[in-house]
């Protein structure tokens, strides 16, 4: 396994190099450059425009610009954003990343849960009303035109019913008196999620080590107890009301993303379950007289989980990429919108920085999935 991972790390570096190179030349292939923005203002003298080009490094030959960007990329210094001059790219990305991660991780988790739960149910009771209703509605929503659907959701729930806010991630009237920034709160939320996930994972790991002592509901009760502590801790931070405001603003985008995407997980789970249910060990479990719920959840669903988990891990990692459409419609300024704006304005350092992040995380996702396969299916071994 160790030598396999070392080999994969080498492949990752090579792939990353190709991604960065391709991105650089794709952006350069667009007509004009960032300084075009200034060349169209007749009140800016030619000398001033040249000076701006020089400060952005756009006066250098293409190959020199390429070398500078490659050096920056592999030394972790992505340079200074043109559009946010002179803020470092890392600072811009660090500002946007938590917002996207919080929204899209949550949406992915909810969407996965809904999809998995429904997929399991409709596979077990084939031909029922639930299967037709879930499949038809899921497929319909899956193919919906996202911007129109998202706007429709806002129109219904925010405008007509007035239950939820019209986009954005916070209410200025609540935040204008706040003494912390939104990124503070997002960071706390992410940290909370990270600690909780680690806690839950370690709890499950410990339960496994304990053998019989760790079976039954005990680990889940411990995890639930940990979850119950979270709001209590937040209540003492003094910024709990701000986190609640963010959560309120997350409802509509999460609901929209879930409705649009749950069908993918649902149909994948359903198909995987149908395959698994034909296996001998499921028949054996039934023959032993085990309750239907146990057969479904412990024997069939667990084995059907493998492709679904793979899909989930990819989704989670690609969550950092965000969604330009969802972020745009819901006024959620995350990495997706940042990348789009950077590409449009040819803010090369920011494009490169974003792409490196996305590339790195997606490559990492592949490695995690490989490791996960071994963990979930003991029959798999890498040489």
């Amino acid at each position: 396994m160790t030598s396999y991972l070392a080999r994969r790390a080498g492949q990752m570096v090579l792939t990353l190099f190709l991604i960065v190179t391709l991105t650089f030349f794709l952006v350069q292939a667009q007509p004009g450059d960032y300084a075009t923005f200034y060349s169209l203002n007749p009140d800016i003298p030619a000398e001033a425009r040249e000076q701006i080009k020089a400060s952005f490094g756009l006066d250098k030959p293409l190959w020199q610009q390429y070398l500078v960007h490659m050096k920056n990329t592999f030394t972790g210094n992505f340079g200074v954003s043109f559009g946010h001059y002179p803020r470092p790219v890392m600072e811009v990305l660090a500002e946007r990343l938590p917002r996207t991660v919080v929204l899209f991780l949550s949406a992915t988790a909810v969407s996965f849960y809904v999809g998995f739960f429904l997929g399991k149910a409709i596979a077990w009771r084939r031909g029922g009303v639930l299967e037709y209703a879930a499949t038809i509605s899921g497929a319909t929503l899956f193919t919906a035109f996202t911007p129109a659907f998202a706007l429709m959701m806002i129109w219904i729930f925010a405008f007509k019913l007035g239950w939820l806010p019209v986009g954005k991630f916070l209410d200025p009237l609540i935040w204008r008196g706040a003494e912390v920034s939104a990124n503070h709160v997002f960071s706390y939320m992410l940290a909370t999620a990270a600690v909780f996930i680690a806690f839950a994972f370690l709890t499950l790991l410990a339960a496994r080590k304990l053998g019989r002592l760790g079976t039954g509901r005990m680990p889940f009760l411990v995890i639930a107890g940990g979850a119950a502590v979270i709001p209590i801790v937040w209540a003492f931070t003094g910024v709990g009301y701000l986190a609640l405001d963010i959560l309120r603003h997350m409802i509509l985008p999460i609901a929209t993303l879930t409705l649009i995407s749950f069908a993918g997980t649902m149909l994948l789970t359903r198909n995987s379950m149908l395959e698994t249910m034909r296996e001998d060990y499921v028949m054996a479990a039934r023959a032993k007289g085990l309750p239907e719920k146990v057969v479904r959840d412990r024997h069939a669903a667990r084995n059907a989980l493998l492709p679904v988990i793979t899909s989930l891990v990819y989704s989670l990692i690609f969550a950092i990429d965000g969604s330009v459409i969802i972020e745009g419609v819901f006024s959620w300024p995350g990495t997706g919108m940042t990348l789009l704006e950077a590409v449009r304005s040819e803010d090369l350092p920011l494009v490169m920085g974003s792409m490196v992040f996305i590339g790195l995380f997606s490559l990492l996702a592949h490695v995690i999935v490989d490791v996960l396969y071994v963990y979930l299916d003991p029959r798999i071994r890498y040489q």
Partner: protein
């Protein structure tokens, strides 16, 4: 290690990444709690810009507020604030929607490389200026200055000859740190811009070819030294609008920046400074910027110009007064019918600029009542206008904009260099038909490079080529023009008897030298980018083809057009647009032959010595009346010589919550967004 172990390592590493990723941000994102008092909104840096930019350092139009005073204090953050209630918070909060985030709060950077329209909306007009434009009429009136400047005089100092002027300043105007706003502040700002060779809009404000230095004769009397005689564009409508920054606050920052090495590094160091507790003067103070979400400015209760009254008269007179403080009148004796009168606020406790990701989302927020007004350089589209017009509590307003869309010719290629050809093209384009019938009134036909709304500089008496002609008359006239210039056809176009359509399109058009007219392209934005300009391009192609001019509309991306036209000059004709400043010195930039080089703004290569002479005269002119006559003459000249066929402009449509707020006026060139939403004048019902 076992798979489970590897998995644990991966998950814990991810968790660690998440935690590490959060930590430095917490340190960096300290919320700035300062009160920056916004001074009279100023015209800002003059500028024209090619339309189509997502952001542009365009000139801000007149802010009606007359002057400035500062009295702000730093507000220390409370330890643990109680959650504010929405009811309390909404009290007199003027809520505006914008479509992109700020990129800086540093004024040097905002007028430098961060000159976006969104920065302009929030930061623009936030500093004292010597002179400004009046509301609606755009009279040139004093702001920080107590009166008009002395006439430019030639003066020799130390063997060097300068052109100098003196400006008296108002007394009692203070920065928020308690210091007076003085002539020293002006000198410091101008010298910093010149010495650090600041980029972006700065060179158009402090032009190094003209500005030499400034001296404070005393704290309230300023003397400016120019290397050469500055015209209106360089002095009265240029440097006189320069935002003045506090010397006390910025001097150490600038001194530190100057230690950074190369000039570009010095600039970078200055631009990178994040102002905290920067003393300012004005109606509002910049109080908070929540990146990606909103920016807030809080009311300055000690605003010097609060309660000052501005009155404009039908006679052209302008009067401004504040009881017990000052009185000012210009452009005639005040009296007779009043065209505008208002008392300066601010009446809002706070102005919040909320950031929305799309215009649709902003409009929904406006309809729902989350915001009172939306700032957008393009205004509302026709669809959204119709959607909002029936809404209770909303008022839709329409104003002329400060832009122009045009068809340009490449004078380096035949037959575009032929005046008769250009006039024939202009004759064939039925702007009225397109704007009223095809485009259903969403555009306004234009014939000159100065929009009609810019009353002071607009010349209505220019040649209106083709106006009022029927289709048949147009074709007949264009054919005659071409014939008179020596063009010939293998098959001449023939019009139907009723003159309504072309029975036989022209074929084989030849130039006066006997060569066939080459195939030509009209570069124009695609329908997805701008349906109006692409519609014009398609119809122009059709009309020109009817008389045998072999032209093809090439609808393509904006950036590609810009590259081909301005960077490569590889084109025949093109359709684009400009956003224009009030003072029309852009006529020189667009059409003087000195700007015909690569990346110059005279991309068509227009070269007419007579026009060059007029343009040079305008640049050197120091008298407004004479300049106006020159601009009129230039407009008439261009409307006849046609380096551009001016096509149309679109009115600027805006909407506001009239059930909550009211403005002293809504008729304004460029709309209320051009005055940043009248933050110091808006009142609440």
């Amino acid at each position: 290690m076992r798979p489970a172990g590897w998995l644990a390592v991966c998950i814990l590493t991810l968790c660690l990444f998440a935690l590490l990723g959060c930590t430095p941000e917490v340190v960096r994102e300290e919320v700035v709690r300062e009160v920056e008092v916004v001074v009279t909104a100023t015209p800002g840096p003059g500028g024209s810009a090619q339309t189509g930019q997502t952001s542009a350092p365009v000139g801000q139009a007149p802010d009606p507020t007359p002057g400035q005073q500062a009295a702000s204090t730093t507000q220390p953050a409370a330890a643990t604030p109680a959650p504010p209630t929405t009811t309390d918070a909404t009290e007199n909060v003027y809520q505006l929607g914008i479509s992109a985030d700020l990129t800086t709060t540093n004024y040097w950077a905002y007028l430098g490389p961060d000159g976006t329209i969104w920065n302009l909306y929030v930061l623009g007009g936030g500093k004292p200026v010597l002179y400004t434009y009046s509301a609606q009429r755009f009279d040139w009136v004093p702001s920080l200055a107590a009166d008009f400047p002395t006439a430019l005089a030639e003066e020799t100092v130390g063997g060097q000859t300068f052109w100098t002027t003196e400006v008296p300043l108002k007394q009692g105007v203070k920065w928020s740190d308690g210091n007076d706003v003085t002539a020293e502040d002006f000198a410091f700002t101008a010298h910093t811009a010149a010495e650090l060779e600041l980029s972006g809009n700065w060179p158009s404000i402090v032009d190094p070819e003209f500005f030499d230095h400034a001296e404070a004769l005393d704290p309230y009397r300023l003397k400016i030294f120019f290397k050469q005689k500055p015209g209106l564009a360089r002095w009265q409508f240029g440097q006189a609008f320069m935002p003045i920054l506090s010397k006390a606050y910025w001097e150490p920052v600038v001194a530190e920046a100057k230690q950074a090495g190369e000039i570009i590094e010095q600039q970078k160091a200055l631009y990178a400074h994040v102002p905290e507790n920067e003393p300012t003067a004005g109606g509002f103070g910049f109080s908070k910027w929540e990146r990606g979400a909103f920016a807030e400015k809080e009311r300055n209760p000690d605003y010097y110009f609060a309660d000052s009254t501005v009155t404009q008269y039908a006679s052209g007179a302008y009067a401004e007064s504040k009881p017990g403080a000052y009185e000012f009148a210009a452009y005639g004796a005040p009296g007779g019918d009043k065209t505008l009168e208002y008392t300066t606020g601010p009446y809002a406790d706070s102005a919040i600029y909320s950031i929305y990701g799309s215009q649709d989302a902003t409009v929904l927020a406006l309809k729902k009542g989350d915001i009172d007004f939306m700032l957008n350089p393009l205004g509302l589209s026709r669809g959204l206008q119709e959607q909002l017009e029936g809404e209770d509590g909303l008022t839709v307003i329409e104003n002329p904009s400060t832009g122009v869309r045009y068809l340009g010719f490449n004078f380096r290629r035949e037959p575009m260099d032929n005046k008769a050809f250009r006039q024939a093209v202009a004759t064939l384009i039925d702007k009225e038909f397109l704007t009223s019938t095809v485009l259903q009134g969403v555009a306004i036909p234009m014939y000159t490079m100065v929009p009609e709304g810019n009353v002071a500089w607009y010349n209505a008496d220019v040649p209106l080529i083709g106006q009022g002609l029927s289709r048949g008359e147009r074709i007949a006239q264009a054919v005659q023009m071409l014939k008179d210039a020596g063009f010939t056809w293998e098959t001449e176009p023939r019009i139907s008897e009723d003159g309504r359509f072309v029975e036989q399109p022209g074929e084989g058009l030849k130039m006066p030298n006997g060569e066939p007219v080459p195939e030509m392209d009209i570069l124009a934005p695609s329908p997805g980018y701008d349906p109006l300009r692409s519609t014009f391009a398609i119809w122009i192609e059709r009309w020109l083809n009817e008389v045998g001019i072999p032209v093809r509309a090439d609808l393509t991306g904006f950036n590609l057009i810009v590259e081909k036209v301005f960077d490569q000059q590889d084109f025949d004709m093109w359709i684009l647009g400009w956003r224009l400043t009030l003072y029309p010195d852009y006529l020189e930039a667009f059409f003087h032959s000195r700007h015909a080089g690569l990346e110059g703004h005279n991309a068509g290569g227009y070269n007419n010595p007579e026009f060059d002479r007029l343009a040079d005269q305008l640049l050197a002119e120091t008298d407004v009346e004479t300049a106006r006559q020159q601009v009129f003459e230039m407009q008439a000249f261009l409307a006849d010589d046609l380096p551009y066929v001016v096509l149309f402009d679109t009115p600027l449509v805006e909407a506001y919550r009239s059930d909550r707020i009211t403005y002293p006026y809504t008729d304004s060139l460029g709309g209320l967004q051009n005055a940043s939403g009248l933050t110091t004048l808006v009142q609440f019902k």
